[in-house]
């Protein structure tokens, strides 16, 4: 499969702070790719660089295997940080400017305004818009050219729950059309609900990358204890389906490998002649997993 976006060894300093530090990423066609990281981890800087508004100190990037050009930008719709519009112009006129730049027919403006429920306010000046409407207009501008790739930097930032749900719905609709979506977010829940792939950034470094299901959803931990803890430990440490064992007072906290469940461990231990006095399954919160990833 061809890479939609390839980032090689990207580096950017702000003074002595490394905003991005030797970042490598490859995003394939059809991915809904989440870039997850705490505030200040370099998500926005990365996206701003690949959209050409920040100059990197080092490294390069390729869209569709080629350097950035106007023809490339036509296939991308991007929202970086906050919407950028002329406050003294109407929503429609603001979109007209972008339509002109992207060589998009003007009838697309009505289509995206309708899609983002802004048709009735198209003559309203941008400055009179509420935060939610501004964000929706930004999304309308992203969808204007019906792009193959959507680049969204914290698209639900500052929105009320209804607004967040609306924007997620739009992302899902676009993803179902087979579009590639790059979504930066510091909200784990958002990435988990929307994305297929995820890269976790911390201080400008890639610390983890993979499918969302593999990286974030193996959230079960199992707590066991028995009368004879030493004997139990000896049995457990040889088991090949166990990822990690932690001892916590009088119990073991076990992380299983993928595709294994609590019944496997129960069967295994019972088979070894040990009877558990306690077997509990706990869902580890996503938040704590995320914190663990960026620790």
């Amino acid at each position: 499969m061809s890479a939609i976006l390839e980032i090689n060894n990207l580096t950017k300093h702000y003074g002595r702070i490394h905003a991005i530090d030797g970042l490598n990423l490859s995003i394939e066609k059809g991915n809904v790719f989440g870039i997850l990281g705490p505030n200040g981890s370099g998500k926005t800087t990365t996206l701003a660089i690949v959209m050409g508004i920040i100059r990197p100190d080092n490294g390069n990037y390729f869209w569709f295997g080629q350097p950035t050009a106007r023809t490339v930008k036509q296939k991308i719709g991007a929202l970086i940080e906050v919407p950028y519009f002329y406050p003294y112009l109407s929503a429609e006129r603001n979109l007209k400017i972008l339509a002109e730049i992207k060589n998009v027919p003007l009838k697309n403006i009505d289509r995206v305004l309708k899609f983002t429920h802004l048709s009735e306010r198209k003559k309203t000046h941008y400055e009179a818009f509420s935060l939610g409407m501004k964000q929706r207009l930004a999304l309308a501008s992203v969808l204007l050219s019906d792009p193959e790739v959507l680049v969204l930097d914290e698209p639900t930032n500052g929105l009320d729950p209804e607004g967040i749900a609306e924007i997620r719905e739009i992302i899902k609709i676009e993803a179902s059309k087979g579009k590639t979506i790059i979504l930066a977010s510091h909200i784990l829940d958002e990435v988990e609900k929307v994305c297929t792939h995820v890269a976790v950034l911390k201080s400008g470094k890639l610390i983890s990358q993979g499918k969302v299901k593999e990286l974030l959803s193996s959230g079960e931990i199992i707590i066991v204890s028995a009368e004879n803890m030493e004997e139990l430990f000896n049995v457990l440490k040889d088991a090949d389906f166990i990822k990690a064992i932690d001892r916590n007072n009088n119990e073991f906290i076990i992380t299983l490998k993928e595709d294994r469940s609590s019944s496997d461990i129960n069967k295994f231990i019972f088979g070894k002649g040990i009877i558990l006095t306690k077997l509990a399954v706990k869902q580890r919160s996503l938040e704590s997993q995320f914190l663990e990833l960026v620790k």
């Binding site: 959209m51 050409g52 508004i53 930008k73 991007a78 003294y88 109407s90 400017i97 730049i101």
Partner: protein, 276 residues
Amino acid sequence: MIKKLLKLEFIKHFAYTNFWVLTGLWAGLYFLVVLIVSLMNINIPGLESKPYLQFPSVWTTFTWIASWFNLLLAIIIIVSVGNEFSYKTFRSQVINGLSRNELILGKSLFILLIAITCTLFVFILTLIFGIIYTNFGSETSVFNKSWLLPVYFIQAIGYMTIGMLIAIIIKNTALSIVSFILYFFPVEVIIRNIFPDTIGQFFPMKIISNLTPLPDMFHIAPASSQMYTSINGQQMAMQATPPVPELAICIAVTVAIIYIIAFITSSTIIVNKRNL
């Protein structure tokens, strides 16, 4: 591409009230001043009519008056460029596919368009007032000094490109306007005084603001018969600076064009280097 960039500037400014206020202010003030000048009665014996409103002197008078309002033109550009930074719309235009060179090209075309419009306005007013006040004789040469019009055109572009460069360096509308005015006076004047006159006369503001020469009424040539005026029965020569020779203007225009190219080039380099 050029058509597209011009269209973009048109969409941006057509519905922008401040733009029309500034343009209206320019046209209104200019018209008001030439009107007042034409109605003014300067009683100098020997000057019954108003030679400075007659062809061909009216070209000098009207382009010189127009040069007073170049500051407004520079402010129009500073506001236009400053807004692109304040509202981060340069960013959005690059995200959506314009190159950084095209950002500058667009603004330069906008400057060109304003300069053409203003020059046309000056041309039309000069023609109207010239026709009204000239007693046409066989020797009247209407377009003799009309070459001052392109000089004014270059001057207007000069002011606006300095405005663009300052706005790009400072990225803030209000601060840019203040800086522009402060540079105009007194910053450049002070710097100029450090250097000897031979270098000082080539400073950008000096060159550009002096492009349009003073009208003839301020320097009546010694050889002319209007030169002598009688005050208390005594003949005396009116003290005045000699007229600017045309050759000097040619050199000044050339230097001004070099400055304009330098301002646009610097703007392009800065925009290309910086993060938007």
